[in-house]
């Protein structure tokens, strides 16, 4: 009965590879987000989708591309991974102002 789930939980990959992280929510929420927590533990918004439409796109390299096949899913695809992409990525969803977070995906780029 997990509300917001992410796969995989851990991802270790080489520089230059392309990888995807998946997010699913079963809360019936309309809006989903991706946040990045960097090495300094600072959580920052990356993207937001409302009903499959992009509504927030912060200054994120265009190597990052979110995709929302339906309102319960928001996947994050990353091309040409760089060392600086190593971080924890959190998915979240909301129907109002309170956001509910997934467990995070720990990405390590070697």
């Amino acid at each position: 009965d997990t509300a917001v789930s992410q796969t995989p939980k851990y991802l270790v990959t080489q520089m230059g590879n392309d990888k995807s992280i998946k997010c699913e929510q079963n809360l019936g929420h309309d809006t989903m987000y991706w946040y990045k927590q960097d090495s300094k533990k600072f959580l920052k918004i990356m993207f937001s989708y409302n009903n499959k439409e992009l509504i927030i796109n912060e200054t994120v390299p265009n190597r990052f591309s979110p995709k929302s096949p339906d309102k319960a899913h928001l996947n994050l695809h990353i091309n040409s991974l760089e060392l600086g992409d190593s971080a924890v990525y959190f998915c979240a969803s909301t129907v109002g102002e309170t956001q509910y977070f997934g467990p995070g995906t720990r990405l390590l780029v070697l």
Binding site: K40, F42, K44, S48, N50, I55, I56, E97, Y100, F101
Partner: protein
């Protein structure tokens, strides 16, 4: 530029006492404030929130106070319990067309000792 600041990276409190976690913000457009609790290797868990039209919100042992003129909010935990040991994040949003994106502080690590 960081619009939400938690200036105490850590706090240690004895079990049964009050824990007070502080948060300051710079953007006067923020109208909704939240506290999240985070354990290692888990996602942030929503704890309590407050709208800018209020100055206090209480939920069990947790109370959030908002001082809009000072752009300051605080989270009080009374009485503190060892299970409260975690990192606490303050967050703020502007609502409306901003898509409710949360602006987070860097967190305060709370340790409650028996």
């Amino acid at each position: 530029d960081q619009q939400v600041k938690q200036n105490s990276p850590s706090l240690s409190v004895q079990e049964g006492r009050i824990s007070i976690l502080n948060c300051d913000y710079t953007n006067s457009m923020f109208d909704y404030f939240l506290w999240y609790k985070k354990y290692p290797a888990e996602g942030p868990t929503f704890l309590i929130s407050i709208s800018s039209i209020k100055d206090k919100n209480e939920d069990g042992r947790f109370t959030v106070f908002l001082n809009k003129s000072a752009k300051h909010l605080s989270l009080h935990i009374v009485p503190s319990q060892p299970g409260d040991s975690a990192v606490y994040f303050c967050a703020a949003s502007k609502g409306g067309n901003s898509g409710y994106a949360l602006n987070f502080g860097k967190g305060t690590s709370l340790l409650v000792t028996p």
